[in-house]
């Protein structure tokens, strides 16, 4: 809670919270059919917490959407269900397996499930007629995101045009759309990884257990520690062994690496994050490793 100071100062985290709540309320007021994209990861949990606060004591006036890759960590799904039940939310699941079965996306055996999320997500947005989709993206995550607006316009193909973005001034957001277009909304654009952790600590909210230190059978691939599961078996030359690890991000199990860590509380994670020398995506996300513009390319196509 913001402390009431004699000099009317608001800490930076309280200012970020106030800004994000303002954005979420603005969208609820101006868009016909918003939806909140919820992965169960820490950023989308913070976003959901902010939405809870924005409308309290009323319920969140829009559904949440999860893209089920079929490769999600069970611990993340468990946390998702707890949030859905506690807040009485309407959960829409867009499954990649269903999208493949319906021919919405093509599984050619080469495309990663991460890429297939794009078609699945865009199809779900179109089918449900969602006009605004909240995402937990932060500008400190990656270079292309650093230039993205809070209200990020998508054309009728779901594409982002980074060279032709609307100017965004003060806290005046422009939500105008044409038929078939939608807006991606990034209410925590100005938060850093440390802000997200500080907020989780302050609010004492539930996050998936895989963020905390645990024992796991892992092997090294492309310099990352990957989980050994039937979905993600070792290839030639890769050797799995049990290590003490935790995850810094929650993506799909075949692409998301973990780091060796003994941090078992949010406070210990914050300490570790404050001295981390590698970005969370650089350390643990195979999907961003392919080229310097990997994220920019995926975003243009309609990624989160």
């Amino acid at each position: 809670m913001p402390d009431t100071h004699a000099d009317y100062r608001l800490s930076q985290l309280d200012q970020l919270e106030a800004e994000s709540i303002h954005i979420i309320r603005e969208v609820a007021a101006e868009f016909e059919k918003p939806v909140l994209m919820f992965s169960g990861g820490k950023d989308s949990i913070v976003m959901l917490r902010l939405a809870e606060k924005a409308f309290y004591p009323a319920k969140i006036p829009f559904p949440i959407l999860q893209v089920d890759t079929g490769l999600d960590f069970p611990e993340v799904m468990h946390t998702r269900d707890n949030w859905v039940n506690r807040l009485g939310l309407n959960l829409v699941v867009a499954s990649i397996d269903d999208a493949i079965a319906q021919g919405v996306v093509v599984d050619d055996g080469k495309t990663s499930r991460n890429r297939m999320q794009i078609g699945t997500l865009l199809n779900a947005i179109e089918e449900n007629g969602f006009t605004a989709a909240f995402g937990g993206g932060r500008r400190d995550e990656e270079k292309a995101r650093a230039k993205e607006r809070v209200y990020s316009h998508r054309d009728e193909f779901g594409q982002w045009d980074p060279k032709n973005q609307r100017p965004e001034l003060w806290s005046l957001y422009n939500g105008r759309l044409h038929e078939g277009e939608h807006m991606r909304i990034f209410p925590i654009s100005n938060w850093t990884e440390l802000d997200v952790w500080s907020y989780i600590a302050r609010e004492g909210i539930e996050i998936p257990s895989i963020y905390f230190s645990h024992q796991r059978r892992v092997f090294e691939r492309n310099g990352m520690l990957m989980t050994e599961t039937p979905l993600n078996p070792c290839k030639d030359g890769e050797v799995a062994e049990e290590r003490t690890v935790r995850f810094r991000t929650c993506g799909d199990i075949t692409l998301t690496g973990c780091v060796e860590s003994t941090a078992s509380t949010v406070e210990e994670i914050i300490e570790e994050t404050a001295v981390a020398r590698v970005t969370e995506r650089g350390a643990t996300r195979g999907d961003d490793k392919f080229s310097e513009a990997a994220m920019e390319d995926r975003k243009k196509e309609g990624y989160f």
């Binding site: 609820a28 004591p57 806290s171 105008r176 300490e271």
Partner: protein, 426 residues
């Protein structure tokens, strides 16, 4: 509240938003890279990527400017074309940098970056002194009422850290600034490349006794820049739970734009003019004793008055006069020029209406401050004084008094694009 002793928590830090203006030639990207690097905000994988690219381009140094080039087209062209946001923190403050391009054709991007800034940082090359561009940047920051301005005289290493060179630029700029509205000005000699006076005090300029850039950014006082006198609460959203537990709850959600609101305050709802008292102010599940900018809260009133989105709650004896005639400085942001009689959508606080251009009084030359009254239109990236007539009254204050209730955007109704930023004069 969790562990307050953890010094890594960002919960208790202060926030400073600042906008940088300048071109690659002024060393702006290098300076930002330096601030990020020296405050340890650059991660190894980011630095490695930049080192690899620098080597690939055949440079014999690590080009810190590459840290801030975001989009592929920018990397290809070697220029910044859009506003990019950067983040770094020291134990004292968190900083959000709006990094904007400097050329005249990107004035709109600079206006965008300056709109949310507490401080503007203008760079000049010590060898060249003040240029048309640096004057223009100062004019824009002044128009946008950015309360603090820093002129960083860069590349002091290339003028042998000469005091006289610095003093000449300092005096010339101070002289120029008297024509503008700049409440707080600091001029600092630096070398972004070598790091002099950026984070660490320079050993080469003992004649300079002022703060380093980082020290100034960490300590400049911004808390009193807000208007804490005139209570302004634009209603964003009406909260009606319709649940058994909160059956009769009716709250008005919004972000405080000015002043301090307290339970018991006598308030007026505009534009209807109906009066009531604040019954309570809620912040999530807590009732709070006062609300002030920029808090997002929910206000409950004692009487069952009709309040909806776009209305404004103010004090009975201190409320803006509703008006359909708007006199404003407008920055035009699209290639088709703005002309008299043009009709546009206008968004002001939480109120959206339509507006017609009654007159374009003059076009301001942002390089010379000359007011051109002959040209009756505004081209892209031009700024001018414009009279608008709106379909419904706006509840506004002069921009010089309140940057939230004094600002608006104009939207082209056919394309849906934001085409102008406006700052209300009266």
């Amino acid at each position: 509240m969790a562990d307050e002793t953890n010094e890594n928590l960002t919960s208790h830090m202060d926030l400073l938003r600042f906008a940088t203006a300048g071109s690659v030639d002024d060393g702006k990207s290098t300076l930002i890279g330096r601030l990020l690097l020296d405050s340890k905000s650059i991660f190894e994988d980011q630095l490695e990527a930049v080192e690899t690219t620098s080597k690939g381009k055949g440079y014999d140094y690590t080009d810190l400017a590459l840290l801030t080039d975001g989009l592929r087209s920018e990397r290809e062209q070697g220029i910044t074309i859009d506003v990019a946001y950067r983040y770094f923190a020291t134990p004292k403050r968190k900083f959000i940098i709006a990094d904007t391009p400097g050329h005249v054709q990107y004035t709109r991007n600079m206006v965008t970056g300056a709109s949310t800034a507490d401080l503007g940082l203008v760079l000049v090359d010590a060898r060249q002194g003040l240029t048309e561009q640096s004057r223009r940047h100062a004019v824009i920051l002044s128009l946008l009422r950015v309360p603090h301005l820093v002129l960083a005289v860069n590349k002091m290493d290339l003028v042998d850290f000469d005091e006289a060179t610095f003093t000449k630029i300092h005096d010339e700029f101070t002289q120029f600034a008297t024509k503008l509205s700049i409440p707080d000005l600091q001029v600092i000699p630096i070398s972004a490349l070598a790091g002099d006076n950026v984070v660490n005090r320079s050993e080469n300029m003992d004649w300079y006794s002022g703060p380093t850039l980082m020290h100034h950014l960490e300590n400049v006082h911004v808390a009193s820049d807000r208007d804490l006198i005139d209570a302004r609460f634009p209603v964003q959203y009406v909260v009606r739970p319709k649940s058994d537990e909160f059956h009769d709850y009716r709250g008005y959600a919004g972000q405080v734009a000015g002043g301090v609101l307290k339970p018991g305050d006598e308030v007026v709802v505009l534009p209807s003019g109906m009066t009531s008292k604040i019954a309570g102010i809620d912040l999530f599940d807590q009732e709070i004793s006062e609300a002030y900018p920029p808090m997002s809260v929910t206000v409950r009133l004692e009487d069952d008055v009709d309040v909806s989105r776009g209305d404004m709650i103010a004090r009975v004896k201190n409320a803006p006069a509703p008006s359909q005639d708007i006199d404003a400085m407008v920055c035009w942001m699209t290639t088709t020029p703005l002309k008299p009689r043009q009709k546009l959508a206008i968004k002001h606080t939480t109120r959206t209406a339509r507006a017609m251009v009654k007159d374009i009084q003059y076009r301001l030359d942002v390089n010379t401050l000359h007011r051109d009254q002959e040209t009756k239109e505004l081209g892209v990236n031009e700024i001018g004084r414009v009279q608008l007539r709106t379909t419904v009254p706006l509840l506004s204050d002069p921009y010089s008094r309140n940057r939230t209730t004094g600002s608006f955007i104009l939207i082209d109704e056919a394309t849906g694009v934001t085409v102008a930023a406006g700052m209300i004069l009266s």
